[in-house]
């Protein structure tokens, strides 16, 4: 057994986290910043954090993930990291010729209390920021929140730092897409564009973390939201924040700063989640729902009903980001399944309320928790007591999957051992079809594997 020390009646814990269902803020900030065109994320702290974050993002995307660090030493920890950051800024602009630097802090620089605003002001005074280049930043102490908080803070900072208030709103829509994959960002754009309106996604990692092989490497790939687009978010007719945890703060910041009306939705994953997104778009644009999208919806429902018997009454265990879990849970219920267990290390009481709502139509009892010790170890002990039919979450779940012989659908972050997540969307109706297919195939493969010979079916 891989996790041989996990038992159904695990001792209570109030201080120790075991096999976390979250990680720290800066990696989220780094991921968000990579979605800005020409932007180099910069980790203000010791170099280990940056190395860890780059490594994990690289393993997930199998793509270059460029980011710099202030490389603190003991001296900087005592005297503050100003001179390190100033040096870094000067080096990044002259060596890598970045258009933008997105600074995030780490536990260390937060504990020391470095004031990034003041350091950036000093950089400006010292002439370290070339004409037409930018620095923006987010505070991302990991002793609060999780990677989702870091992502949310960096997105918010994009709005706070760049969005320009306008007298007259434009026609375009701004979307904060949430912590989703590059393929999802493409799909979100396609859905909005189907309404015939212009859209800015901020951030947008498509074209950054899913680039092709051409024989030339670029420090800064062609994708990403440009600074001009970020500025123009201030004149959007509406901003839609997809995923309250990851995108809520950015949307609301834009609303309060530039008076752009903000609508916060759950991620458009699955049937109803996508329905709401599309209805909102129709209301916002004043346009009817495009036939294409209606047709896509009907195909998803068709699939759900054709194969409904295999989904019916089945249960899942989920872990990861709250936005993903809530949206997936609702979709599971639409598939006549239910989220038997769900844990997220990302703290926030809102999660419990949102889950309650998402599980309104659940066909079985749902147990979910959030916070520090809502970890994979705890979930595993629940599983030991009573198994679900499928596991849905990041790669770390494969250890439970193997020990307990439960199929695993890889979803969310991180996926370190399979590909596909970066290329094929799971948002929208098309994404719903992909998710449903992945879950379904688990059940069917299982049936094929386990059926007695006389009950082995050709047609299913």
């Amino acid at each position: 057994m891989l996790l041989r020390h996990t038992e159904a009646d695990a001792p209570e814990r109030k201080a120790l986290t075991i096999n976390p269902a979250k990680t720290c803020q800066p990696i989220g900030a780094m991921y968000a910043a990579l979605g800005v065109h020409g932007c180099l994320p910069h980790s203000h702290g010791s170099q280990g954090c940056c190395s860890y974050h780059r490594s994990q993002l690289t393993r997930h995307y199998k793509e270059p993930v460029l980011a710099a660090t202030s490389s603190f030493t003991e001296g900087s920890s005592v005297f503050g990291g100003q001179s390190n950051l100033l040096q870094a800024i000067s080096n990044i602009f002259s060596i890598y010729d970045a258009d933008v630097i997105a600074v995030h802090t780490t536990c260390l620089s937060e504990t020391i209390g470095d004031d990034i605003n003041q350091i950036v002001r000093k950089a400006k005074e010292d002439g370290l920021i070339p004409e037409g280049k930018y620095i923006f930043h987010a505070n991302t102490p990991s002793y609060q929140g999780s990677q989702v908080t870091g992502f949310a803070s960096m997105c918010k900072s994009m709005m706070d730092s760049f969005a320009e208030p306008a007298d007259k709103p434009g026609d375009h829509i701004a979307i904060v897409p949430g912590w989703v994959e590059p393929a999802d960002m493409r799909e979100i754009r396609r859905i909005v564009e189907a309404f015939g309106v212009e859209v800015t996604l901020a951030p947008d990692t498509s074209g950054v973390l899913d680039t092709g092989l051409t024989g030339t490497s670029q420090y800064f790939p062609d994708g990403g939201t440009t600074i001009d687009e970020l500025k123009a978010c201030g004149s959007a007719r509406t901003v839609i924040s997809l995923g309250p945890s990851a995108s809520g703060p950015a949307g609301r910041a834009l609303e309060s700063r530039c008076k752009v009306p903000c609508e916060v939705l759950e991620l458009p994953i699955g049937l109803q989640g996508t329905d709401r997104f599309i209805q909102s778009l129709s209301v916002i644009t004043g346009k009817p729902i495009p036939e294409q999208l209606k047709w896509e919806r009907s195909r998803l429902v068709d699939l759900m009903s054709d194969m409904g018997q295999y989904f019916y009454g089945k249960s899942a265990a989920l872990w990861g980001d709250p936005d993903q879990i809530v949206a997936l849970s609702e979709f599971l219920c639409d598939l006549s399944m239910f989220p038997k267990y769900a844990v997220t290390g990302t703290p926030g009481k809102g999660f419990m309320k949102r889950m309650e709502k998402a599980c309104e139509n659940a066909s079985g009892p749902c147990r979910y928790e959030e916070g520090q010790r809502a970890d994979m170890h705890k979930m595993h002990s629940w599983i030991k007591a009573d198994k679900p039919d499928v596991l849905i979450g990041g790669t770390h779940g494969k250890y439970i999957a193997r020990d307990e012989d439960i199929p695993l659908v890889r979803h969310g972050f991180p996926i370190l051992d399979r590909i596909g997540h970066q290329y094929f969307n799971t948002v929208g109706y098309t994404g719903g079809m992909r998710l449903a297919e992945q879950i379904l195939n688990c059940f069917l493969d299982r049936q094929d594997r386990d059926a007695p010979e006389e009950r082995f079916e050709l047609v299913m």
């Binding site: 057994m1 891989l2 996790l3 020390h5 001792p11 209570e12 814990r13 109030k14 201080a15 120790l16 986290t17 075991i18 096999n19 976390p20 979250k22 720290c24 800066p26 990696i27 702290g45 010791s46 170099q47 280990g48 954090c49 190395s51 490594s55 690289t58 393993r59 793509e63 270059p64 993930v65 460029l66 710099a68 660090t69 202030s70 490389s71 030493t73 003991e74 900087s76 950051l85 040096q87 800024i89 000067s90 080096n91 990044i92 002259s94 060596i95 890598y96 536990c107 260390l108 504990t111 020391i112 102490p141 990991s142 002793y143 609060q144 092989l213 024989g215 490497s217 420090y219 770390h396």
Partner: protein, 547 residues
């Protein structure tokens, strides 16, 4: 044969884009080799902020590298959640328990997940509770506490907590002050881990009778082998076939017990000099066990290393056995080589990795006739480049000073000097390296190539542009950037999830992988047909076959 472009010109080109101050510093880290000892290179100094280096932190070196592979020491990361999370199963240390019920904690990541109130009011109380809960859950033989950056800053005393918990729980509990900001790279973490493993495990258990004296006639330890991709398994088997008793590996596939038994051997073999030489020296000082530098990466190197062991013990039966095993293995090695060399000969490679691999792997490449264009370490010190003779001349700076230097004394009752001048002469006859000697990477490199320390992302890209190598070996962060250029890259930390690469069997695996990487069809498909220069008749010919 001289390289084109000329290394001196390349060096100049590498530095051109840097601000003057950066260029001055980096220049000292880039050396054109002369193929002999005595050249100096700057190493183990601070990375310049903003240059984008490969390096990680002290915590990674301690928790990830040294303690990571020991399966039954329960590691708890004291700090916010990230550090513990990222070091969760991300190094490929394999381990194999004897039974299904033996403890193995390597699949678990434990953290105190410090919150703001712990930062403000201190985290010791939470740490103590976490240790109690960890004990209740796992009942481990030993617990290790690893400090991350904020811990040192807020002044939590992990060592005091460890002492208290040791008393309370009746098991060994020890702490590491391995905050990421100490030192300039992972290397500081190795040193900190070495110190504590020695004092808190090896010498702590030495006077106790808790563990049996291991059996065997020719007893050795293997230091600095971490069982990435199963390397240690290959070597365990190899030693067994030779009749050599491997008592303890630091730390691949190890247990608390095996580490505690380390003092019972007659010879220590040092693989990764950088990460483990401190333990080697301490075992020598305390118990009189000499150490010899070995390298089990590369077939000839493996043979040589086995011969060193045989030479040390100077036993006819052992020598015969070792020669027999080498002969048997070399048949397979030669067969593999002769099928692969025609496809790899003349291909070129650069290696920027780690603290010993950039040296060790050069042997593997040379054995399949590949050319080394440049090589450098990520976190090594000058002695790993220039040889241990340079150690007295290395300047101690502020960054080194904050790593605890411990004084180790002769353990009088247990000390037994197993070295002899004769044994040393026998070792020297094999490769010139006697006890506690390592000549470093640079003197072994051909003249006229580049040794580059702590290479930056910019430099790596520039080198690819200038040299157009067939392959660049580094780590995960660099791999995909390199490959975007259409150049193969193999990770030498994780072996791209392949391996083992150690020993004879590992060498054969490695060559097959390199053959695959440099000759793969996918590189030839990068250019679309419409981007290929071709004459009109060829395009027409294709039209014809289609119709």
């Amino acid at each position: 044969m001289a390289l084109t472009p000329d290394p001196a010109a390349v060096k100049e080109e590498l530095l051109k884009q840097f601000p003057a101050k950066v260029a001055r510093k980096r220049a000292k880290h880039i050396v054109e080799t002369e193929g002999e000892a005595g050249q100096e290179i700057a190493a183990n100094v601070r990375t310049i902020p903003g240059v984008i280096s490969q390096r990680g932190c002290t915590y990674a070196g301690c928790k990830g590298v040294i303690l990571g592979p020991t399966r039954d020491v329960l590691s708890i990361t004291h700090g916010p959640i990230g550090c513990g999370y990222y070091s969760w199963l991300t190094r490929r240390n394999q381990t194999r328990t004897e039974s299904d019920t033996d403890p193995n904690y390597m699949t678990y990541s434990l953290s105190t997940d410090m919150q703001e109130e712990n930062i403000v009011f201190g985290g010791e109380a939470k740490l103590k509770d976490a240790i109690r809960e960890a004990y209740a859950t796992f009942k481990p033989p030993a617990i290790a506490i690893h400090s991350t950056c904020p811990v040192g800053l807020i002044g939590d005393d992990v060592h005091a907590v460890a002492r208290e918990m040791k008393e309370e729980l009746g098991i060994n509990v020890f702490g590491f002050s391995c905050e990421g900001y100490r030192g300039v790279s992972q290397s500081a973490g190795h040193h900190i881990a070495n110190n504590k493993i020695f004092t808190e495990v090896v010498s702590h258990e030495a006077p106790t009778q808790h563990f049996p004296v291991p059996e065997g006639k020719f007893k050795i330890n293997l230091l600095g082998e971490y069982n990435i991709g199963g390397d240690a398994f290959v070597l365990e088997e190899l030693f067994e076939r030779c009749g050599i008793s491997l008592v303890s590996t630091f730390c691949g596939n190890s247990t608390y017990e095996s580490l505690a038994q380390a003092r019972h051997v007659d010879l220590n073999l040092v693989m990764c000099h950088r990460s483990i030489n401190y333990v080697a020296t301490m075992l020598e000082t305390s118990y009189g066990i000499p150490w010899a530098k070995v390298n089990f990466i590369g077939a000839n190197q493996t043979a040589k290393s086995l011969r060193k062991v045989a030479a040390f013990f100077d036993d006819a039966e052992l020598t015969a056995k070792v020669e027999q095993v080498i002969a048997e293995e070399m048949v397979k090695v030669d067969a593999a080589k002769s099928s692969i060399v025609p496809r790899t000969a003349g291909k070129s490679v650069m290696l920027f990795v780690g603290g010993s691999r950039a040296h060790h792997y050069q042997h593997l490449f040379k054995e399949i006739d590949m050319k080394i264009l440049a090589a450098g370490y990520e976190f090594a010190h000058r002695d790993d480049y220039e040889g241990r003779d340079v150690i007295p001349n290395i300047k101690i700076d502020a960054d080194n000073r904050n790593i605890e230097e411990i004084e180790v004394h002769k353990a009088e009752a247990l000390y037994n000097d197993r070295s002899s001048p004769e044994a040393e002469e026998r070792l020297k006859a094999i490769d010139g390296e006697g006890f506690a000697e390592y000549n470093g990477m640079m003197p072994e490199m051909e003249a006229g190539v580049l040794a580059i320390d702590d290479v930056s992302h910019y430099e790596t890209e520039k080198l690819i542009e200038l040299y157009k190598p067939d392959m660049v070996c580094c780590g995960i962060k660099e791999k995909y950037s390199i490959q975007k250029n259409g150049v193969a890259s193999r990770q030498l930390h994780s072996y791209d999830y392949g391996g083992p690469y150690a020993g004879f069997a590992g060498a054969i695996n490695f060559w097959k992988d390199i053959d695959m990487m440099v000759n793969a069809r996918w590189w030839k498909l990068v250019k679309a047909p419409w981007d290929m220069p071709e004459d009109a008749s060829a395009a027409e010919a294709r039209m014809v076959t289609l119709s």
